[in-house]
């Protein structure tokens, strides 16, 4: 890793949200994961999953990394694979925005497009089927891989603690694979930090990367008990907050960023402290979508 772009995964900025947080009981702070080399929080999990697969011998340079992804993990795996010298194959629902497909391909990944009607669950089913019939594929499976939350326990959580000088009282993040919430909870809950997990409020939603757990394939790494509070947000409200983040705080985020901040603001209205909310990616990846139309 030393001497490569991978050294710069993590160590992302923690910035206050003075305008959106104005008048609330708690102060709001945003952890800006778009500052990762691959543009999203997924760089962390991708790096740890690939390094783990190398360490246990599954990835020996001749085999290909495989995963199912809505986009950000695919980009991250493609980037890590490019630097570490591994081929990468991604199962991704067809009709997702062009940016994520193009970026992953730019890093050298091959993409298998799956039935868009089946969403990421369909991509997961396809990845499992491919892994079962091809021994040359190393299915890292972000939804079941302990290296995913481990990355957050060892990096994201400690960074937040250090950057806040130990003043963080709450951590808010959305749940997709759940790696972020599970891992940061493992790092910070024992220090008295309240963990808030957020999901979309219905099965059909526009919060890229998040899962409506009740209607989706449940990630094996997810455990509701890691969070102290579970909230849901609607897509329209999330989009409105995403626009506020850009226009009031200068933070250009994807829709999940607005969704997470919306949830954090709700907590901040009721509870005092210093609330850190994770903003998973940047708005550039959504320019071709109606979000910024």
């Amino acid at each position: 890793m030393r001497g490569t772009i991978l050294e710069h995964i993590g160590g992302t900025p923690l910035v206050p949200l003075p305008r959106i947080g104005a008048g609330l009981r708690a102060r709001l702070w945003a952890k800006l994961e778009a500052f990762n080399p691959g543009g999203s929080v997924k760089d962390r999990a991708a790096l740890w999953m690939v390094l783990a697969a190398e360490a246990d011998g599954r990835l020996d340079g001749a085999r290909t990394i495989l995963d199912a992804t809505s986009g950000n993990t695919g980009v991250a795996l493609a980037l890590v694979g490019a630097v570490r010298g591994h081929r990468v194959q991604l199962c991704m629902p067809d009709k997702v925005s062009e940016e994520r497909k193009r970026i992953a391909r730019a890093f050298g990944a091959t993409i298998v497009l799956t039935d868009p009607l089946e969403g990421t669950d369909g991509a997961i089913v396809e990845a499992r089927a491919r892994a079962a019939r091809d021994a040359n594929l190393v299915y890292v499976d972000q939804y079941s891989n302990d290296a995913n939350p481990l990355a957050h326990r060892e990096t994201t959580g400690p960074e937040i603690w250090e950057q806040s000088g130990g003043a963080v009282t709450h951590f808010v993040a959305g749940v997709g694979t759940s790696g972020t919430v599970v891992g940061v909870s493992a790092a910070l809950r024992r220090r008295g930090v309240r963990i808030v997990a957020v999901q979309p409020d219905q099965a059909l939603h526009g919060i890229e990367g998040w899962k409506h757990m009740a209607s989706a394939l449940r990630p094996a790494i997810w455990n509701e008990s890691v969070a102290d509070l579970h909230l849901t947000v609607g897509t329209d409200d999330a989009v409105a907050m995403t626009r506020r983040l850009a226009r009031e705080e200068g933070i250009f985020s994807g829709p999940s960023g607005g969704a997470a901040v919306l949830a954090a603001a709700r907590v901040a209205a009721d509870e005092a402290g210093n609330i850190v909310v994770l903003i998973a990616d940047g708005g550039e990846r959504y320019l071709s979508t109606p979000l910024w139309g």
């Binding site: 009709k95 009607l117 991509a123 749940v175 099965a203 059909l204 939603h205 526009g206 990367g209």
Partner: protein, 91 residues
């Protein structure tokens, strides 16, 4: 016009569990209205208060993105296959 509307998992409960429904209409708006009559509440899931396709939903008439063909005013031909899919994929 008689068309087939294919639906994602997140919309199947709204139409009684089916992954596709047959509908009638000369435009996308009429097709969704026809489905709404049989499955109240469906329309609000895919169209916003102003009657436009929700930003997080994509609708394809054949291979064409309906937004590029006039949105809900897009004409549909007899036998067309319409696909409603989430614009964003879950994690």
């Amino acid at each position: 016009m008689a068309v087939t509307v294919r639906l994602p998992g997140s919309l199947r409960d709204a139409v009684g569990g089916a992954n596709k429904v047959e509908a009638k209409g000369a435009t996308l708006e009429e097709v969704f209205g026809d489905i709404e009559r049989r499955h109240p509440g469906f329309r609000a899931l895919v169209l916003d208060d102003g009657g436009a396709i929700r930003t997080y939903v994509n609708v394809y008439i054949g291979d064409q993105d309906a937004r590029a063909s006039g949105g809900t005013k897009a004409p549909v031909s007899d036998g067309a296959e319409i696909m409603v899919i989430p614009a964003m994929a879950g994690g």
